[in-house]
């Protein structure tokens, strides 16, 4: 009952400061679609069909396929966008758990997603030029 005080909860007039959220929300939404559509196919493919020997996909085939146009698409749809989706969820989840350091959490969550993205693109790019 302590959180329900009769104290006046006055709302300070604040400058209308545009939120950066649309950017993160757009990445989150795009990543959500990827999570729903692409990730299950990856699990099916790499988690079941391939280990069960139902399809034949050798390392060299995978290597050739990844270091091309489709590899870039794969990176975006299976790693980068889902990464930002997950980061957004974790960030808001921590907010719901009343973790207060909003700025720091934002930097850590999106920073990690950004780092994973850079790493993925870096690997793809070095593979392309080598």
């Amino acid at each position: 009952m302590n959180d329900r005080t009769t104290e006046n909860m006055t709302i300070k007039p604040k400058k209308n400061h545009r939120s950066s959220e649309p950017v993160w929300w757009a990445l989150f939404s795009a990543g959500g679609v990827c999570f729903a559509v692409f990730i299950p196919t990856a699990i099916l493919f790499f988690g079941f069909l391939q280990p069960l020997g139902l399809i034949d996909f050798s390392y060299s085939q995978a290597h050739n396929w990844f270091f091309g146009f489709w590899g870039l698409m794969f990176s975006g749809a299976f790693i980068i966008l889902p990464g930002f989706h997950a980061a957004h969820r974790i960030r808001h989840g921590l907010h719901d758990l009343k973790v207060q350091r909003h700025g720091l959490i934002k930097v850590i969550c999106y920073g990690l997603a950004g780092l994973i993205s850079l790493l993925t693109l870096g690997i793809w790019f070095t593979g392309i030029i080598s």
């Binding site: 005080t5 006046n8 709302i11 545009r18 939120s19 649309p22």
Partner: protein
Amino acid sequence: MKTIHITRYLPESSEIPFVQQFDIPADDSTSVLDALNYIKEELDPSLSFRWSCRMAICGSCGLMVNGKPKLGCKTFLRDYQENITLQPLAHLPVERDLIVDMDVFLTHLEAVKPYLISDDSLSTEPNKQTPTQMAKYQQFSDCINCGLCYSACPQFGLNPEFLGPAAITLAHRYNLDSRDHGKAQRMPLLNTEEGAWSCTFVGFCSEVCPKKVDPAAAVNQSKVESAKDMIIQLFKGNL
């Protein structure tokens, strides 16, 4: 007979709220509001609660019934087991018994300029509108300002500066109205962190809304509007 446990708060006699139990004769037509009126008339006249219309129109009888925001006049004892707990609406400061201070909620409603803003204030022409144009916002105009959605919203609970479901819905309702020209004045507030962007699409607001306004839909459509606004301002070089 039903047993009702009411969280009471009488600031002049005790700093601490306490729970009081009442036994109520009930039939199929007894609403929670009927039960409260029975208590006030027959058992304990000191009980305080708000009500007016008894028909889900005025929006003043909101309270928590077994932990869920409800209108007292639209909730019936027949739908509950033996024991029912009544508490004041969550997330708002309690003034006395089941009466909460709605000031924050009203300030938020006011902040979104919930009225038609014309581009030509001198015009005496009537504002015409086709049924199709009206259908775009009609559902969002059914709100009775009961505040149940604010009690349901965990984000408002965490940060009362969040505009909240009903206020954003009201802003969206006027933004969708063909007679209105005030969208540019409302967007700056919706674009803020405390505007549409504090919402994490929990959706409980739409579940508890007694008028099926679907505030969660309005808030999320407002997010799309805000994102579009950002892109437009970016291209115009205003960001």
